[in-house]
C-alpha cells in the first residue's frame, strides 16, 4: 500500500460552468471521496480563463480529466458518468464496500 500513500494529483479541464463540466466535477469528487479519501487533490482549470494552458496538457476535448501523479499521465474525456471506466482509466483500486 506504500505506493498509494502518495497524493494523487488530478486536474480537470473545463470551459465555463456547463452541465457536462459540473457533472464531471461532481462525479470525480464522489469517486475520490469513496476510493482515495485523504490522498487526492483536484485542480480545476477553466480554459475560458486560462486558454494558454490547453496546449501544455494536449487538451482538445472538454471536460478532460488528467492524472498528473502518479505517473504515467492518463487522460479521461467526458462527464465521467461511468464509474467503472473512470476507475479503470485512472487505475484506482476500488475500495470494497
Amino acid at each position: 500500500m506504500a505506493k498509494q500513500e502518495k497524493t494523487w494529483e488530478l486536474r480537470l479541464y473545463v470551459a465555463g460552468k456547463t452541465p457536462k463540466s459540473v457533472a464531471a466535477l461532481n462525479n470525480l469528487k464522489k469517486y475520490c471521496e469513496t476510493h482515495l479519501k485523504g490522498i487526492y487533490r483536484i485542480e480545476v482549470i477553466d480554459l475560458l480563463v486560462q486558454p494558454q494552458l490547453a496546449e501544455g496538457d494536449q487538451i482538445f476535448a472538454i471536460p478532460t480529466l488528467v492524472r498528473k501523479v502518479p505517473e504515467p499521465i492518463r487522460k479521461i474525456i467526458g462527464d465521467l458518468s461511468n464509474e467503472e471506466k473512470v476507475l479503470v482509466g485512472l487505475n484506482i483500486r476500488p475500495v470494497k464496500q
Binding site: 470551459a15 457536462k20 475560458l48 486558454p51 496546449e55 494536449q58 472538454i62
Partner: protein
C-alpha cells in the same frame, strides 16, 4: 387541346425563368478571394482561395497536401502580411519546421515575428479513455487562443481527420466539425483543411460534407514508372476556375502549378524579323529570316545537321545580345559546344557571357508534364528571347504521341505569348510515327532536311515545307556543312536533272569554264537543247 396549351405556357415560363437566373448569375460579381502566393494556383483559381471561407485540400499520402497548406500560411505571412495559424494533427511542430526548412521556409523566424503560430494537437488513443458526454471545446479554445495571439487571418487544419482515429464517438466528432467550420466562417478566417483521400470519396471521413465552398484535389500518378503530380479544382462555389488537371511540381522553392493551357488564340504577334544565323537561309525567306516569336520546326533524318541549324540560330540570337536557352535531350552541353566548334561556332563564349544556357536532361528522367514544368520554370527565370528544343522526338519515349503534342502545344503557346522564338528539331525516320507531321500544325515554319543519295555519295537537301505569312523560296537547295559553318547553295538543274554534291560542283565548274572558253559556243549548246 386546352391542357396542351396550358402545358406549353408553363414550359415557356420556365424557360424564361431559367434564362433570367442564368443571366443574373453571369452578372454576379465573383466572390472575394485572397491570394495563396503559390505559383500558378492563383491563376487557375482566378485570384486565389475564397476569402473568409474554408477550402478542402485532399489527396492520397505523399501528394503534397501539408506542403500546399504550409505554403499558403508561410506565403501569406511573408508576402501579404497576413499572420496564420497552422494546427497540425499529424506532425509535431519540430518535425514540421525541419521538413519545410529544406524548401526555404524559416518557420522559427516567422514564429518569432508573430506571423505564424504552430500548434500540434496530439491525439494518442492509448492514453485516452472516454466516458460519457464531451465536446471539442478545448480545440476551439486552443484555436481561438492561437488566432488571437497573432491576429491570424489564415488557418490551416492538417489533418483534422485524425480526430476520427483518436476518438470513438463519431457522432460527437461530426457535430463538432460542423460547429467548427461554422465557427471559422463566422470569424471570416480563410482556412485550408486537409484530408486523406478515401476509396471512391474525396476524403476518408467525408469532410467534403462540411467544406462546400472550394475543394482542391491533389494526385500523384505513376504511368510507365514516371510519376507526375497533378492538381484539380473539383469545385469552387461562386467563381469560375480552370477545370483541368494541372501538373504541379515540388522543388526547392515549394509548389509550382502550371496553368500553361491558355488555349485562346489571341496573342500579340510581332512582324519583326530575325536572322536564322545562316545568311543563305535568310535569303530563302526573302533575305530577312524568321518572324520573332514564331515557332520553327527543323526535321530530317539522322545526321542531316538539325542540331547544327539549331546551334546557328542560337549563335545568331546571342550575337544580337539576346538570350537563348538550349534544351538538349540527346547530348550534353560540352558535347554540343565541342561539336559545334567544328562548324566554326564558338558557343562557349556566350555561355560565359550568360547569354546562352544549356540544359541537358534525359527524356526518361521524368514525365512530360514535369519536363514542361521545369522548362517553363527555367524560361521564366532566364527570360530568353529564343528557346531551342533538340530534339523533340526523344520525348515520345516518355509519353504517347498525342501527349507529346499537347505538351508542345502548351509550350508553343506559352512562348508565343511571351514573345519568345522557339526552334524545335525532330528526327523523322520510319519508326517514329512521323512526329514532325503531327507537330507541323503548331509551328509557323517547317524546314525539312533530306538526304539525297546519288552517284555513290550522300548529300543534304533542304527545303521549306511551310512558312506562314512569309514569302519564301520554294526550291530544294543543297545544304552544306563545312568548317566555316552552314551554307545553303542552289542545286544544279540541267539536262541530267537535279544534281547535288560533287556532281553539282563538276557541272558548275564545267559551266564556268564553258563560259570562259567562248560565249558563242555555250550559247549554241543552249540553243540546241531548246
Amino acid at each position: 387541346m386546352g391542357i396542351n396549351f396550358f402545358k406549353n405556357c408553363i414550359s415557356i415560363i420556365f424557360i424564361i425563368l431559367i434564362y433570367r437566373a442564368l443571366f443574373q448569375f453571369n452578372r454576379m460579381k465573383s466572390i472575394p478571394k485572397i491570394k495563396t502566393g503559390i505559383n500558378g494556383l492563383d491563376e487557375i483559381t482566378e485570384g486565389g482561395l475564397p476569402e473568409g471561407r474554408p477550402t478542402l485540400v485532399c489527396g492520397g499520402p505523399g501528394c503534397g497536401k501539408t506542403l500546399l497548406a504550409m505554403e499558403f500560411v508561410v506565403k501569406g505571412a511573408a508576402l501579404y502580411n497576413e499572420p496564420g495559424v497552422f494546427m497540425a494533427f499529424e506532425e509535431k511542430a519540430e518535425e514540421l519546421t525541419a521538413n519545410v526548412a529544406s524548401l526555404g521556409f524559416d518557420l522559427e523566424k516567422l514564429q518569432k515575428n508573430k506571423m505564424l503560430r504552430l500548434d500540434y494537437v496530439q491525439i494518442e488513443r492509448s492514453e485516452i479513455e472516454e466516458t460519457g458526454e464531451y465536446d471539442l471545446e478545448g480545440l476551439f479554445i486552443r484555436l481561438e487562443h492561437a488566432i488571437n495571439s497573432i491576429g491570424a487571418k489564415r488557418v490551416v487544419l492538417d489533418t483534422i481527420e485524425n480526430l476520427f482515429a483518436g476518438l470513438t464517438n463519431q457522432g460527437i466528432i461530426r457535430a463538432e466539425l460542423r460547429r467548427l467550420f461554422r465557427w471559422l466562417k463566422d470569424r471570416e478566417l480563410t482556412t485550408i483543411v486537409t484530408g486523406e483521400r478515401g476509396e471512391g470519396t474525396l476524403t476518408r471521413h467525408g469532410l467534403e460534407e462540411y467544406v462546400s465552398d472550394c475543394v482542391i484535389l491533389l494526385d500523384h500518378r505513376i504511368i510507365d514508372q514516371i510519376s507526375t503530380r497533378r492538381l484539380r479544382i473539383v469545385k469552387y462555389r461562386g467563381s469560375i476556375h480552370g477545370t483541368n488537371e494541372y501538373p504541379f511540381l515540388i522543388d526547392e522553392e515549394g509548389i509550382t502549378v502550371l496553368p500553361v493551357t491558355s488555349l485562346k488564340l489571341d496573342k500579340n504577334v510581332s512582324s519583326q524579323r530575325i536572322s536564322t544565323g545562316i545568311p543563305s537561309l535568310d535569303e530563302m525567306f526573302g533575305g530577312k529570316g524568321f518572324f520573332r516569336a514564331s515557332s520553327i520546326l527543323v526535321s530530317g533524318s539522322a545526321g542531316t545537321g538539325k542540331t547544327s541549324v539549331a546551334s546557328s540560330f542560337a549563335d545568331a540570337t546571342c550575337r544580337r545580345k539576346e538570350k537563348c536557352i538550349f534544351f538538349a535531350f540527346e547530348e550534353s552541353p560540352q558535347q554540343i559546344i565541342r561539336n559545334m566548334r567544328s562548324i566554326g561556332l564558338n558557343l562557349d563564349q556566350y555561355v560565359r557571357k550568360k547569354l546562352l544556357e544549356f540544359h541537358s536532361f534525359r527524356p526518361g528522367l521524368y514525365g512530360l508534364e514535369m519536363h514542361l514544368a521545369s522548362m517553363y520554370k527555367l524560361v521564366k527565370k532566364f527570360k530568353p528571347q529564343t528557346v531551342i528544343l533538340d530534339p523533340i522526338t526523344n520525348l515520345v519515349s516518355v509519353g504517347l504521341l498525342n501527349e507529346v503534342n499537347s505538351m508542345l502545344l502548351r509550350l508553343v503557346d506559352y512562348l508565343q505569348t511571351e514573345g519568345i522564338t522557339l526552334m524545335l528539331t525532330a528526327l523523322n525516320s520510319g519508326t517514329t510515327e512521323h512526329i514532325d507531321e503531327n507537330v507541323s500544325s503548331l509551328v509557323d515554319v517547317w524546314l525539312l532536311v533530306k538526304e539525297v543519295e546519288s552517284n555513290g555519295e550522300r548529300n543534304r537537301a533542304l527545303y521549306i515545307m511551310k512558312s506562314r505569312g512569309m514569302k519564301h523560296s520554294k526550291e530544294v537547295r543543297e545544304f552544306i556543312i563545312s568548317s566555316k559553318g552552314l551554307e545553303i547553295v542552289e542545286v544544279y538543274r540541267g539536262q541530267e536533272g537535279v544534281l547535288t554534291g560533287s556532281a553539282r560542283e563538276a557541272k558548275q565548274r564545267e559551266a564556268i569554264s564553258a563560259r570562259r572558253n567562248g560565249r558563242g559556243q555555250f550559247k549554241k549548246t543552249v540553243k540546241k537543247t531548246k
